[in-house]
């Protein structure tokens, strides 16, 4: 017998107490938990998102469409960034004021090449207010998962209020399971040494979030 047959046969024997007529989704699951905690307007969701992002030491900025290129240019300059990875579908206008080398997100480029790049600028799929989480789904304005991982500085632009949801239960139906997802809540961190929190072990040590209001 294959390992598969062995394991499945053991499971069926182990479940002899389950009545034959019971279907896989018959055991009841009461979903009486809340869809969202508290009642907030869309604007209040944005405020909560900003608060929770900052609480986990992301640096939060706000901008309208007109000010965005100057803001991104300034953030990159302040970091001394000379090169930035650009996802294929990123609005080119966002980087119009940035005096940096643009590195396209290409499949053949190696992780070592990415390691030599200073920053990355992306959009996101959505953001979750209650947990201060950005979700990336590898869409055209976000690129491959590794480009937001290897460079040490990530600037993520969230369109508010459109891309902000209140809670985790509100986020999942808007995300496609067949896309690779990266959920980001603050910069990389560890608490493995005497539970002292240290930011930036392997992922970007600096996470800057721009809340981009509609024009």
């Amino acid at each position: 017998m294959s390992g598969r047959d062995v394991v499945l046969a053991r499971i069926r024997r182990a479940l002899a107490d389950v009545p034959r007529g019971e279907g896989p989704s018959d055991p009841p699951v009461a979903r009486d938990y809340l869809r969202v905690h508290g009642s907030r307007t869309a604007g209040q969701d944005v405020e909560l998102l900003a608060e929770n992002l900052a609480d986990y030491r992301a640096i939060v900025h706000r901008s309208g469409p007109d000010g965005l290129p100057a803001l991104i240019g300034r953030l990159l300059a302040e970091r001394g960034a000379r090169s930035v990875v650009v996802p294929p579908g990123l609005d080119p206008g966002w980087l119009a004021a940035a005096e940096v080398t643009r590195v396209p997100d290409l499949a053949p480029s190696t992780a070592r090449e990415l390691d030599a790049v200073d920053s990355v600028v992306t959009g996101c799929a959505l953001a979750i207010a209650e947990t201060g989480t950005l979700v990336l789904d590898a869409g055209p304005d976000q690129g491959r998962r590794r480009i937001t991982l290897v460079p040490d500085h990530h600037i993520c632009v969230v369109r508010v209020p459109g891309q902000v949801v209140g809670s985790v239960p509100e986020a999942l139906p808007r995300l496609a399971p067949d896309r690779p997802l990266t959920w980001i809540s603050g910069p990389s961190a560890t608490s493995d040494i005497e539970l002292d929190r240290v930011e930036g072990v392997h992922g970007p040590r600096t996470l800057e979030v721009v809340l981009l209001a509609a024009g």
Binding site: A14, D17, A107, A111, P180, L181, T182, S185, D192, G203
Partner: protein
């Protein structure tokens, strides 16, 4: 790990050593109290915690009661998304599969995301025997690996080490595994983390094979989920060409929607955060993004035996948050190593004897590694009634009874060495059935109390070696009641006088 743990002493012997280690106790007390307090605040933020907890337990129960269905569904979805699925009945088979898969890539080194399942099966040791070096990339696991040590906590495996010990390990060992620690390394956590970053980045940038576990597997979509903080998980899951995930069959959840429950329960219970810094999900392979080849190894290794026990089955709900460790008075004093398994603390005390069987002396001692205070049940985000399972397993140890081992039902004989306990339980049962004898015995005990030894003789010595014998009262409760409350019955049934005891 199973190999390493075979020589482990039984819990009481190991605990007797570790409880005398004052540095270990100080490290543990600081750590567990810090997490415990933070967790309570994080949980209090959600006023539907009780409903989330009940839903989490119910989803897991639903999956477990139809695990064959959901695993077949999962396999179908993973294959449809471009992954390959392998089934391993035990640790040996899992190690054989993973070794073969790594060999087929032609690589001799792999990077690993922290994974309980691969520790359980002793994968690193099996790979080493095959000439393959496995690099642990979680900071705490790195500390454990470099220190040639064992993990002592599910979430913070190096919780037993303080900063100066960690600095010494880094300075001494990093060089022989790759990039050495910077000269003049201090013991500040930030500098230590930076040293680990530099040491491991070389591995991440060159590794062709990554090995992980998973926190959840979604049957309907074939999606795997890894929840982490440092980014080492993201590195291992997205940079290598080949990804091999070894996952216990109980990590399955039926639907994508079910994640909304567990992604709320797990971070708050585990690290006391609203959300952990990084969560990665992947469904098979994606063109041009992440590994080109994905293997999922579904691991039984005692889980189906656990499933066969209708009381013990609930242990398979566990989402490895480690909240039970941080509230357990026994864990806090004994430390994780005393449990002789990658699963320490209250959950380890019920999981290890079920996964491995209770015939071994360590496994038979674990159901006793508890004061049954119930704190573990209170904090468990999937409501595993750990005390209930502990008592159930104690009964199995003492009285024997039906169990399933490697898929076969068998009747376990009572464990040797518990004859005194069995005799005492029978004597107690007889005495409670014979009130006259009980009354007489208690009176006799009171009157001879000055003659009682401080330690028990014979087989009782092991018990009294680590405990103070309770003092016998000068007067039995029954006699005291009779003297102070007249003929009123102790159950208060007369209803008269100075208030019955209810």
């Amino acid at each position: 790990m199973s190999g390493t743990s075979l020589g482990m002493p039984a819990f009481p012997r190991a605990a007797a050593v570790s409880t005398g280690d004052s540095r270990l106790r100080a490290n543990l007390t600081h750590a567990t109290h810090t997490i415990r307090d933070k967790r309570a605040r994080a949980v209090a933020e959600l006023d539907d915690w009780a409903q989330l907890r009940a839903a989490g337990a119910a989803v897991k129960d639903r999956t477990l009661r139809h695990l064959d269905h959901y695993l077949e569904r999962l396999e179908e979805s993973v294959v449809a998304a471009g992954g390959r699925v392998h089934w391993a009945a035990d640790a040996e088979e899992a190690n054989r599969i993973v070794t073969r898969l790594v060999r087929e890539t032609g690589e001799r080194e792999v990077v690993k995301v922290k994974s309980m399942a691969t520790q359980e099966i002793g994968l690193n040791e099996a790979l080493a025997e095959a000439g393959i070096r496995a690099y642990e990339t979680d900071l705490a696991e790195l500390i454990v690996q470099l220190g040639d040590d064992l993990p002592s906590h599910i979430l913070v495996p190096a919780i037993h080490r303080n900063r100066s010990e960690i600095r010494d390990i880094f300075l001494r060992e990093m060089g022989s595994w790759g990039r050495p620690a910077p000269e003049g390394l201090s013991d500040s956590p930030a500098e230590l983390a930076e040293a680990a970053r530099l040491h491991l980045r070389e591995k991440f940038l060159t590794a062709k094979v990554g090995i992980s576990g998973a926190n959840f597997m979604v049957a309907e979509s074939g999606t795997l989920v890894v929840v982490e903080s440092e980014g080492n998980g993201r590195m291992c899951l997205t940079l290598p060409e080949t990804l091999i995930s070894v996952v216990g069959i109980e990590k399955t959840v039926p639907t994508w929607q079910d994640l909304e429950i567990f992604l709320q329960l797990l971070p708050r219970s585990s690290t006391a955060e609203r959300m952990n810094p990084y969560t990665t999900t992947w469904t098979g392979t994606t063109d041009g993004d992440g590994p080109r080849t994905f293997h999922l190894v579904l691991l039984d290794n005692g889980r189906t035996d656990t499933l066969a026990d209708t009381v013990g089955r609930q242990a398979l709900r566990c989402i490895r948050c480690s909240a039970c460790l941080n509230v357990c008075p026994v864990y806090e004093r004994a430390g994780g190593h005393a449990y002789g398994s990658p699963y320490p603390g209250p959950i380890g005390a019920i999981l290890t004897p079920q996964l491995r069987g209770i015939e071994g002396s360590l496994e038979a001692s674990l159901p006793y590694a508890s004061s049954l205070c119930g704190a573990c049940y209170e904090v468990c985000p999937v409501a595993i009634d750990i005390p209930e399972v502990l008592v159930h397993l104690r009964e199995r140890v003492v009285e024997g009874g039906p169990v399933t081992r490697r898929g076969t039902r068998t009747v376990l004989k009572p464990a040797r060495g518990h004859a005194a306990e069995r005799a005492a339980m029978r004597a107690a049962a007889w005495a409670f059935d014979h009130p006259g004898a009980l009354r007489g015995g208690m009176r006799l005990a009171s009157r001879t109390r000055r003659l009682h030894p401080r330690r028990l003789p014979g087989p009782g010595r092991a018990w009294s070696d680590s405990r103070e014998l309770p003092a016998v009262a000068a007067e039995s409760f029954r006699d005291w009641w009779r003297r102070t409350r007249g003929e009123q019955r102790p159950d208060g049934a007369s209803g008269e006088g100075r208030g019955g005891v209810r």
